[in-house]
């Protein structure tokens, strides 16, 4: 019995030890799983970002610090051509900077600038082939694919110097994307660029735009603007609001109704300014709601605030 009990104890100990071991193993596997998951997430993040700029600072024009990550298939606009040009020059290595700029592969950046020109005495196809081979692109139909992408298949054998300006810009864009870059840096986008921008986004290229033209910024997903050298970022969807100017006969009742339905508004002596995302959807809703409550309107005006006003408003914030 004694022996038996000892044996049972031993067996129990052994079982306990095994349990502990099993638990440890389970923990270990969990840990490894967790770390693997974290790694996967990091990798996904890495592969999603085409270009990462971390605390970049420049002397001329003075930029204190700017950090942003350009995702694949996203358009990031920089408001301010001077700053934008400087940032593009820093990324491409034409300007000295402090900070970290990381890219998937540094050679794989496409760049469009007004100062860039191609070889005038080579044909369009030869120009594209030369720069494709510079990055070891060995696909035979890559150049043809780019020509088709830009819609200039018929101009492959024309000398670059004989092309019209708009076609020249297209070919420069072609050279910028022929080596399959992760990010495309565009200075002052031109109309031909916007024609193919959706296709570029679909092919998962991160696009950085530097411009002073606020109309072009409207097409960007995010905007980066500068004030006294420091950068601030904002999403266009938040900034872009339409404004409806109401002049009700009875102000107090109208304000009560607007409060009840959760509209954002600013009231002043002669009327109420209601902020909505899109006036086309908001007006029928608003008018119906007010009429049901028996509130009559003297007048209703739509004030469309463009991105320009939004930017100015944002830049005025101290």
């Amino acid at each position: 019995m004694v022996r038996g009990s000892e044996g049972a104890e031993e067996a129990g100990e052994a079982r306990g030890a095994r349990e502990v071991r099993e638990a440890e193993e389970a923990e270990r596997t969990e840990k490894t799983e967790r770390t693997e998951k974290a790694k996967e997430i990091e990798e996904v993040k890495k592969t999603e970002t085409a270009l990462n700029v971390d605390s970049l600072s420049l002397k001329e024009p003075s930029i204190k610090t700017v950090s942003f990550a350009l995702k694949k298939g996203e358009i990031l606009g920089i408001y301010g051509l001077r700053e934008g040009r400087a940032i593009i020059a820093a990324i491409t290595g034409f300007l000295d900077y402090e900070g970290n700029i990381t890219c998937e592969s540094f050679g794989y950046l496409g760049c469009f600038s007004r100062n860039i020109s191609l070889y005038p005495n080579l044909t369009v196809r030869e120009n594209l082939e030369f720069f494709a081979s510079a990055k070891d692109i060995k696909e035979a139909d890559r150049v043809e694919g780019v020509l088709g992408f830009l819609g200039v298949e018929d101009y492959g054998d024309v000398l670059y110097k004989d092309l019209e300006e708009s076609f020249k810009r297209r070919i420069i864009l072609g050279v910028a994307i022929v080596h399959k870059p992760a990010a495309l840096l565009v200075e002052e986008p031109f109309p031909e660029f916007w024609e193919v921008v959706e296709k570029l986004k679909a092919s998962k290229i991160g696009i950085l735009i530097a411009t002073n033209d606020t109309k072009q910024l409207e097409k960007c997903d995010r905007i980066l603007a500068f004030k006294n050298g420091s950068a601030f970022e904002f999403k266009l969807a938040k900034m872009r609001r339409d404004c409806i100017l109401l002049k009700p006969i009875k102000m107090e009742k109208a304000i009560e109704a607007l409060d009840e339905f959760g509209f954002k508004y600013t009231a002043f002596e002669t009327g109420i300014r209601v902020w909505v995302d899109n006036y086309a959807y908001a007006i029928p809703e608003l008018v119906e709601m007010l009429l049901r409550r028996g509130i009559k309107l003297e007048s209703l005006e739509v004030e469309k605030t463009g991105i320009e006003e939004a930017l100015e408003e944002a830049l005025e914030i101290p």
Binding site: R85, F94, L109, N115, L122, E126, F131, S133
Partner: protein, 308 residues
């Protein structure tokens, strides 16, 4: 370093130069230079106007003087000189196209040119047991000038042209290294300037592997000098500098045949032509290596000044 990049650069450079019309201009240049000598090709090499010299030193025996008599029938312009050196001077100055040292075994010295070869063979038909030796002549100097001019001018516009059109930015953007750009362009220039040189060789009938090797090294030295100009200066200034450089070379070489201080020849590669021996070849190689590395350094410095 990427060999395919260099190879692509050579191909691109040749295509561009051909289409820009610069190559045809460079090919036209030797033809213009050789235009005065073209009538010589049509006429018979040995006529009454052919000048030859006879070196009559004391070692000659009586039988050889009988030969001199038959030589003097070949041409009306026969100079009799005392020493070989004097005859060499006349030959290098272009006064005569061949001279004979009479003796037991008569020796014929002739220019390594169409004219010289024909004269020498005509003399040999008279003097049966004679030996001919050739050496570089005025026509070889002309060929060397063509070689230098074509490689110098082609090289002096390569990089400065790219800087002017704005394609240099793109080369930097696509991470072409200084070595790839300079080497690719240098090899392309050598390849292209071979065309006028071969053309000149055919016209002047100069054939010798040693001379071709020497010309190739001279072209390399001139092209690398042109590369330094084109990396350091704008297109116009580089071309002006190349012209001045060519004039300095030509004047030093043609004006002071053999009376040049040696230090001058360290800067002017064409002067090496005066003595195209194998000993001068390492100097030309060293010259081109120094100039090429200098242009690579200048390219690296100027790259920083480039704005996007």
């Amino acid at each position: 370093m990427n060999l395919t990049k260099i190879w692509r650069m050579i191909g691109k450079e040749v295509k561009e130069t051909r289409r820009s019309g610069l190559l045809s201009l460079i090919i036209l240049f030797p033809l213009l230079l050789l235009l005065p000598s073209l009538p010589l090709l049509s006429q018979s090499p040995l006529n009454s106007h052919t000048s030859i010299a006879v070196v009559a030193n004391d070692t000659g025996d009586a039988s050889s003087y009988g030969n001199v008599h038959s030589i003097s029938k070949l041409s009306s312009n026969v100079y009799f000189v005392a020493t070989e050196e004097e005859a060499f001077k006349m030959l290098k100055g272009g006064k005569i196209s061949a001279f004979i040292v009479v003796g037991k075994k008569p020796q014929i010295f002739a220019e390594n040119s169409f004219y010289g070869i024909k004269t020498a063979s005509a003399i040999q038909s008279v003097l049966s047991d004679s030996k001919i030796s050739y050496f570089p002549s005025l026509s070889f100097l002309f060929l060397a000038l063509i070689a230098q001019a074509s490689s110098l001018f082609l090289a002096s516009t390569t990089i400065s042209r790219e800087r002017e059109t704005g394609t240099l930015r793109l080369l930097i953007l696509y991470r072409f290294s200084a070595f790839e750009v300079i080497t690719g362009k240098f090899l392309a220039v050598l390849l292209m300037s071979l065309v006028p040189v071969f053309l000149g060789m055919i016209v002047l009938s100069l054939y010798s592997t040693k001379l071709i090797l020497f010309l190739l090294l001279l072209m390399a030295a001139s092209a690398s000098a042109g590369m330094v100009f084109s990396t350091a200066f704008s297109k116009e200034n580089a071309v002006i500098l190349a012209t001045l450089f060519l004039f300095a070379n030509a004047i030093a070489t043609f004006y002071s045949l053999h009376s040049l201080p040696e230090r001058v020849s360290y800067l002017l590669p064409l002067t090496q032509v005066l003595d195209p021996s194998l000993e001068r070849m390492p100097f030309l190689i060293l010259y081109s290596l120094i100039a090429l590395s200098l242009s690579m350094i200048v390219f690296g410095i100027k790259k920083r000044g480039e704005v996007l």
